[in-house]
């Protein structure tokens, strides 16, 4: 398998953009040189990934323009090669990448907008999960309550930002009608992004609710999660937060001592 493996590795180098003249010699040049033929693949692969990123990060593309987006995408593809045969997995690190990308310093909200788009994409490709059965939850004996852990729904993603990223996302939707101005000073958001049937819903959370759900997402017990909420907002009603979270399919299950 050595020759085949070497052939594939050489092809990979060529597709990555390092013109490998020696490798190009292994390709027939009937009418078109081996290097040009490899270039067709290089171009096709780059376009494929750029379009995949563009499909997920549509708002980012709108905000920076098609050409600049292509430039950022090309650089991302080079530094963060795909590790999955499922192209829908591609782009997970794009938000972080935008944080350090030279030239985007004047748009500090971009990474969080990208996080929101990735959460939207992920929620779309996740199962909704079951509705949490409240009466079953109520049956957990008091003696076990300190081992109770709540679970977020598989299609729920939490996002905190110092920027009004939901407004930015909304005004950049194709079907948006209304005031297109976003005041960057209007403050941040704490969101749960959840799939609800055909729709992806955005729930704005209170600081206490966000703290509680964030603790849950970290795998903390119910008790610790409630404390997290009360630390942020001593007056918050954790029972109500839980109820809303269940209704909105943010919390979708629980376990006691690891038992579902």
């Amino acid at each position: 398998m050595n020759a085949l493996r070497e052939l594939q590795q050489g092809f990979a180098r060529s597709v990555n953009g390092d013109t490998d003249e020696v490798y190009a010699q292994t390709v027939c040049d009937a009418g078109l040189s081996g290097a040009r033929r490899l270039g067709i693949y290089q171009h096709g692969v780059a376009i494929g990934f750029r379009d995949a990123l563009g499909g997920v990060f549509e708002v980012i593309k709108k905000l920076v323009g098609d050409d600049y987006f292509a430039h950022v995408a090309e650089s991302y593809i080079q530094t963060h090669p795909s590790t999955s045969g499922n192209v829908h997995d591609f782009g997970e690190n794009f938000p972080e990448y935008l944080e350090t990308f030279q030239g985007l310093e004047t748009l500090p909200y971009l990474p969080d907008v990208a996080r929101l788009e990735w959460a939207y994409h992920s929620a779309f490709h996740s199962p909704m999960g079951e509705m949490l059965n409240i009466s079953k939850l109520a049956q957990v004996p008091e003696s076990q309550q300190n081992q109770l852990t709540l679970l977020l729904s598989p299609a729920c993603y939490l996002l905190r930002s110092n920027f009004p990223v939901l407004r930015i996302w909304q005004v950049n939707q194709d079907d948006y009608e209304g005031d297109e101005l976003v005041d960057l000073e209007e403050g941040g958001v704490e969101l749960a992004i959840v799939r609800e049937g055909k729709q992806i819903a955005f729930h704005s959370l209170s600081p206490g609710a966000f703290a509680m759900l964030e603790a849950i997402s970290f795998g903390e017990t119910f008790n610790v999660s409630c404390e997290a909420a009360l630390n942020i907002d001593p007056d918050c009603d954790v029972g109500e937060i839980l109820q809303d979270a269940v209704m909105n399919r943010i919390v979708g299950g629980f376990s006691v001592k690891g038992k579902a």
């Binding site: 085949l4 990979a12 390709v27 027939c28 990934f49 591609f90 490709h125 199962p127």
Partner: protein
């Protein structure tokens, strides 16, 4: 509309279907066009969460596929398994595929005679294999592994290519034939890819089709491609963004005569037109098949039965 319950045994009827694309989900469910079946790209429906069968949920695309599945027979067509790669087979990808198969119970499962990754780096493209004995042995072993894991036969599709390797010693059509015979897989004959390669590499497309064993072909693909000029030369790219061209329809006629009533489908992936355009292409394929073969109404009947389940 009650859509629960075990899926009935499904076979893909020997008539034309279309590729199922997200843009057409609502249209298909609402208008239920007269097509024989649909083909879904497996990876688009991998979002099943934990691989436990107790969890009956799925991603939003999966929920659509489940509903479509009750209206039409479904075939699952993979693009990312990287069958020809010299990396170990991606076990997670295989598991995801198996899980999807268990849930959808498709009539056919197919992948490509290509590779798409090496050193764990994926190109998400269908890259050409060299046609050597080593490459053939490798593909045979890999397809065996996939079929064993999935517990079923798969179909392997010939791909379009824009280059030939100097090391290749076996004509593509012989490679396809040998592969299907040695691995026990079926052939998904993409007539457009045959044409594209014949033009790109200067062989006779008819010879390709005539040398594939009759019984090995279980599905045919039809698609449109793009003619591009580079450095004064012409190359054909498998873009799936056009109507099927006349030359490919002619080859399809030849294929029908050789392979008989085999399910065919229209692939369209970029610059998607309205659903009607795809349905019209599928109808054209049906008309050609019917004009070439005297009796082949069984496909229609299968599809009628599919409809009645819902009514």
């Amino acid at each position: 509309m009650a859509l629960l319950g075990k899926n009935p045994e499904m076979t893909i009827p020997p008539r034309a279907g279309i590729g199922l694309r997200a843009e057409h989900f609502d249209d298909i469910l609402e208008h239920r066009p007269d097509i024989g079946w649909v083909e879904a790209h497996s990876e688009n429906y991998f979002g099943l969460g934990a691989t436990s069968l107790n969890n009956n949920g799925g991603s939003k695309p999966f929920e659509y596929l489940e509903r479509v599945r009750h209206l039409y027979p479904v075939s699952l067509h993979g693009v990312g398994l990287s069958v020809g790669s010299t990396d170990p087979l991606n076990q997670q990808h295989l598991k995801n595929l198996k899980h999807l198969i268990d849930r959808i119970e498709p009539g056919l499962v197919s992948e490509h005679l290509s590779w798409g990754s090496v050193n764990d780096r994926y190109f998400n493209d269908l890259l050409p294999m060299p046609y050597t004995e080593e490459s053939l042995d490798h593909m045979v072993q890999r397809i065996n592994e996939v079929q064993e894991f999935l517990g079923r036969q798969i179909l392997i599709e010939n791909v379009s290519s824009y280059l030939e390797y100097k090391v290749s010693t076996i004509p593509e059509w012989e490679f396809v034939t040998e592969l299907s015979q040695r691995a026990g897989c079926a052939v998904l004959l993409d007539v457009n890819n045959v044409y594209v390669n014949a033009m790109n590499h200067g062989f006779n497309a008819e010879r390709f089709i005539e040398s594939i064993p009759v019984e090995s072909v279980k599905e045919i693909h039809l698609a449109g491609h793009t003619v591009k000029e580079i450095d004064g030369g012409v190359i054909r790219l498998d873009t799936h963004d056009h109507l099927v061209c006349d030359e490919v329809w002619e080859l399809y006629r030849l294929a029908v005569n050789r392979f008989g009533a085999v399910p065919a489908m229209i692939e369209w992936d970029k610059d998607l037109p309205k659903l009607d355009v795809l349905v019209a292409e599928a109808n054209r394929a049906d008309a050609i098949r019917e004009s070439q073969l005297p009796v082949s109404r069984t496909g229609k009947l299968t599809s009628e039965v599919g409809r009645e389940r819902i009514a």
